[in-house]
Amino acid sequence: MSKLHVSTTINGEPAEFLCEPQQTLLDVLRDELGLTGTKEGCGSGDCGACSVILDDRVVCSCLVLAAEAEGARITTVEGLAKGDTLHVLQRQFLEHAALQCGFCTPGLLVAAKALLDRNPDPTETEVRYGLAGNLCRCTGYDKIIRAVLDAAAEMRGESVA
């Protein structure tokens, strides 16, 4: 079977690739485009380590066929920082020590960004449910939730304690 040619936009830049019909977006991001920041934790959409934003929705890229990226806008963890200026979420994660092994972190950052894009002033419960699709085994989520709440406050222009 011949490969499909896909044109898409990733982290604001045009990108194109060849893929097999059955390849997932996750496979292509990691293996064809060298964007290994997005991780595979389960391959079945249950852990969120592969979260990317596809046209304003957070999705598990392991459940998206690479071919579906045609004409879409995709944001991965590599697109959060601007040059060497970290996104507020990235900075708050570091300040709060909201990561230990760091493997779930890219997916969580992307999911948190999507959450705050939709809801800039979430309660703790809304953050917890909004991130319930992202498994973390190291932190118990405590510092992650605090980091996201402080990032939200900072992005709203409020001062953070």
């Binding site: 097999e20 059955q22 990691r30 293996d31 060298g34 964007l35 290994t36 920041g37 997005t38 991780k39 595979e40 934790g41 389960c42 391959g43 079945s44 249950d46 852990c47 380590a49 991965t76 963890v77 590599e78 959060l80 920082a81 970290l86 990235q90 994660f93 570091l94 300040e95 709060h96 020590a97 990561l99 230990q100 092994c101 760091g102 493997f103 779930c104 972190t105 890219p106 950052l109 703790e124 419960t125 953050v127 917890r128 449910y129 991130l131 319930a132 699709g133 992202n134 498994l135 973390c136 085994r137 190291c138 932190t139 118990g140 989520y141 405590d142 510092k143 992650i144 939730i145 605090r146």
Partner: protein
């Protein structure tokens, strides 16, 4: 978070700087095991048994090898059979025959998912197609899953060369019970005769997986000259190197193991499944080979921890003084012997002062994956039983559960059942902090309950190494051998910065590969900050001595006339000379003239690890209609010695608690009647998500360990020990039912409520 203990004038230790690898991790730049790409790299895949127990009659790989794009196929025939005399590792912890037999089956498959063969091909799709072309004939045998069924005299036998160790006289017939151990102190018969109150219970736990989000992954390259490189996610590059060398019959020096960043381990990555297979494929193919486990493979074929049965009998006086304790622990080892039986027995009652204790343990094989270490291995299981029984005892006595612990608390000079005497421990202080904590006296509502449980873990030291180098501009490098699972890099840099007198940002830690630094034990056992930290501090002190000597040479005064203060050399007194302080950078700039590069490497077998004690308080609510348990509030108190980087110490407590809560409420391996694992994925193996948990409060009690730099203790393992009993005790408090079988999942809770209502 709350601190206790004296403050000091430390500059860096005790603060919360950003970790040095943090930016890489939040930008996706950090390289984990599956992130490395090498030119010509092939994809490896593994063929696994669909049967729980079967003899392998025939393996034919011809058609697979002939498939276009397949460059190598291996089975256990490609690996040497390790003779019995060479089976046990020098340190006594590893049986190479078991690791090898688990990695690729020999003669028999022993569990659903047991690896039998592997292929390397130019794409994952071709590799998977090749697996289907491997022909294997099996003679399916009866299997046994449950540990008590495996102990029955007519149970299917897994190994005909396994005889129960620890029995007198030694048995002549093989068994699934690989060993029996026992510890005794005093005389329990007398102790029970003196008791005025007795409590007896039988508690059971299921196998649970460490649940690291990153599956096992490695890339192996066999060089044309026999020099190999392995890049892998593990809890010890030296462990990867030595196990690979042993399993393949290679010289250790011909393997360089490079540690990738590791996406969680919790003990599950203190052994190997893939690296020798990938290297053997690479040798045949002449190209690098990557193998990454799928999540299903992680569940089916990598070690969970044991499930077990814990029988507990306690005797006490009316005032709460324990007079005797009898515990029997039976643990699943999986397909090969090696459950964490010793620690399960030793830790269960280690926090109490009891004169008469008898603990017996059994390690039992059955047709399940070989167990691997999981955070304080064995201790959570033994403690689930012991701490549930203590709670029942408190109820029977009408005593506050913390007061009962305080009455019997191990203190300075207490002798444990396994013979060791406690010194410099912080259990009483931690209990007092728990009793005084506002959580303990907060009001509870309907169907809400509160549970308390305690935990103990020894922590270890072991073979360690570290190097500190001074760069030409006066900045420093700290080189350490241990993969950083939880932020240890930051703590090591902080300790070096403290001793050298440099700002934290001027000290850069790296994790080195096996060619670059002497052998070190694994990242596990709560040892890295303690043992590698000891070497880092010793190396930093040696560097300070060198810096003083160099300053003396620059000033042309005797070396003992120089002191080191705040990162500078200063004359020891007015008689030494009126010199301005000499900063480290200035001394470094003249290093050539004063004798050469400045640096030190320290190796040691670090001893004197301080034990950890934990006390946890759990509030929860039971929904009587759905059986769902909601954790409302959780406080974890622990004696941490000294928190080098408090955020990462808190993180270890919170992470251990979360794992313990999953263990208590939802996680378990479910097997079909055919012995197949039914829930090898995160949907049905249900680990806690963010919406399941509240904030996890931590209290770091600082009772210093006098044998460690800055008084620190290992902290990472003990937090997983109390939660299962804390939850069970809270459920008892909430609805009056003792749930003695984990997990306390909704179907089981509902069934128990139905029985109680009937």
């Amino acid at each position: 978070m709350t601190y206790m203990g004296g403050k000091s004038d430390l500059r860096v230790v005790g603060t919360r700087p950003v970790r040095p690898d943090g930016v890489d991790k939040v930008t996706g730049r950090a390289n984990f095991g599956a992130d490395l790409r090498l030119p010509g790299m092939l994809e490896g895949r593994i063929k696994r048994s669909p049967y729980a127990h079967a003899r392998i009659l025939r393996i034919d790989t011809t058609r697979a090898a002939a498939l276009k794009g397949v460059l190598a196929v291996v089975t256990s025939a490609d690996f040497p059979e390790i003779p019995y005399e060479e089976a046990i590792s020098g340190d006594g912890f590893v049986n190479y025959r078991y690791v090898s037999g688990n990695m690729l089956a020999r003669g028999k498959v022993l569990y659903d998912g047991h690896a039998v063969a592997a292929v390397a091909a130019t794409s994952a799709a071709i590799a998977e197609e090749a697996l289907d072309l491997i022909e294997i004939d099996y003679d399916v045998l009866p299997h046994v899953i449950d540990v008590e069924a495996a102990m029955a005299p007519d149970a299917p036998l897994l190994h005909d060369d396994l005889f129960t160790a620890g029995l007198t006289p030694p048995p002549t017939a093989p068994s699934n019970i690989s060993k029996r151990i026992a510890f005794n102190i005093g005389d329990v018969a007398t102790g029970f005769a003196e008791a005025e109150v007795m409590v007896e219970g039988r508690y059971t736990t299921q196998a649970v997986h460490q649940g690291y989000i990153e599956p096992h992954a490695c890339v192996a390259t066999w060089g044309a000259d026999g020099q190999s490189t392995i890049f892998s996610s593990s809890q010890g590059a030296f462990m990867v190197r030595s196990l690979t060398a042993k399993l393949m019959g290679l010289d250790i020096a011909n393997i360089r193991a490079v540690p990738a960043e590791i996406g969680g381990g919790f003990g599950g990555k203190t052994t190997i499944y893939l690296e020798p297979v990938a290297l053997a494929l690479s040798r045949k193919a002449g190209r690098p080979v990557r193998i990454v486990m799928s999540r299903e493979e992680v569940f089916r074929a990598s070690g969970p921890t044991s499930g077990g049965v814990v029988a507990v009998k306690l005797g006490a006086k009316r005032d709460g003084t324990l007079t005797a304790a009898q515990v029997t622990v039976t643990l699943q080892a999986g397909a090969f012997p090696g459950s964490p039986l010793g620690p399960a027995c030793m830790c269960a009652l280690a926090m109490y002062d009891i004169k008469n204790v008898a603990i017996t343990g059994y390690d039992v094989v059955s047709n399940r994956p070989k167990v691997a270490a999981y955070r304080a291995p064995g201790a959570p299981i033994g403690s689930f039983g012991a701490e549930s029984a203590m709670d029942e005892l408190a109820r029977k006595l009408g005593m506050d559960p913390i007061a009962l612990r305080q009455k019997n608390a191990a203190r300075e000079g207490t002798r444990t059942a396994y013979g060791v005497t406690h010194h410099d421990i912080g259990f009483e202080q931690t209990l007092a902090a728990a009793k005084a904590h506002p959580h303990y006296s907060a009001p509870l509502g309907v169907n809400q309950g509160r549970g308390v449980a305690c935990g103990f873990w020894f922590n270890i030291g072991g073979e360690s190494a570290a190097a500190v180098h001074i760069n030409e501009d006066g900045t420093a490098s700290v080189v350490s051998p241990n993969p950083d699972i939880g932020g240890s890099r930051a703590s090591l840099a902080m300790m070096a910065a403290e001793v050298l007198g440099l700002p934290y940002e001027k000290v850069r830690p790296i994790v080195a590969d096996t060619a670059s630094i002497p052998v070190s034990g694994m990242t596990g056992g709560s040892r890295v900050t303690f043992a590698i930290g000891t070497c880092v501090v010793a190396a930093s002190e040696k560097v300070v001595e060198q810096l003083k000597q160099r300053a003396a040479m620059i000033w042309d005064i005797p070396p003992d006339a120089v002191e080191w203060k705040d990162g500078q050399a200063v004359p020891a007194g007015p008689n030494a000379g009126g010199f301005d302080p000499l900063p480290l950078a200035a001394i470094a700039a003249k290093s050539a003239r004063t004798g050469g590069p400045i640096g030190a490497e320290v190796t040691a077998n670090v001893q004197g690890a301080g034990a950890s004690f934990a006390v946890h308080i759990c509030d929860l609510e039971v929904d009587r209609e759905t059986g769902r348990v909601t954790v409302l509030r959780y406080t974890a108190l622990q004696d941490v010695g000294r928190a080098i980087h408090p955020s990462y110490v808190e993180g270890q407590l919170q992470g251990g608690v979360a794992q313990g809560l999953g263990w208590a409420l939802n996680e378990e391996y479910v097997y079909s009647a055919e012995g197949r694992l039914e829930n090898p994925g995160f949907l049905d193996y249900r680990m806690p998500v963010a919406s399941d948990l509240p904030m996890i409060a931590t209290v770091l009690v600082e009772v210093p360990n006098p044998r460690a730099p800055f008084g620190l203790r290992g902290v990472a393992e003990v937090p997983i020990v109390p939660p299962t009993a804390a939850v069970a005790n809270a459920v008892r408090s909430a609805i009056g039912l003792r749930m003695a079988d984990l997990p306390i999942s909704p179907p089981k809770l509902l069934a128990a409520l139905d029985v109680a209502a009937a």
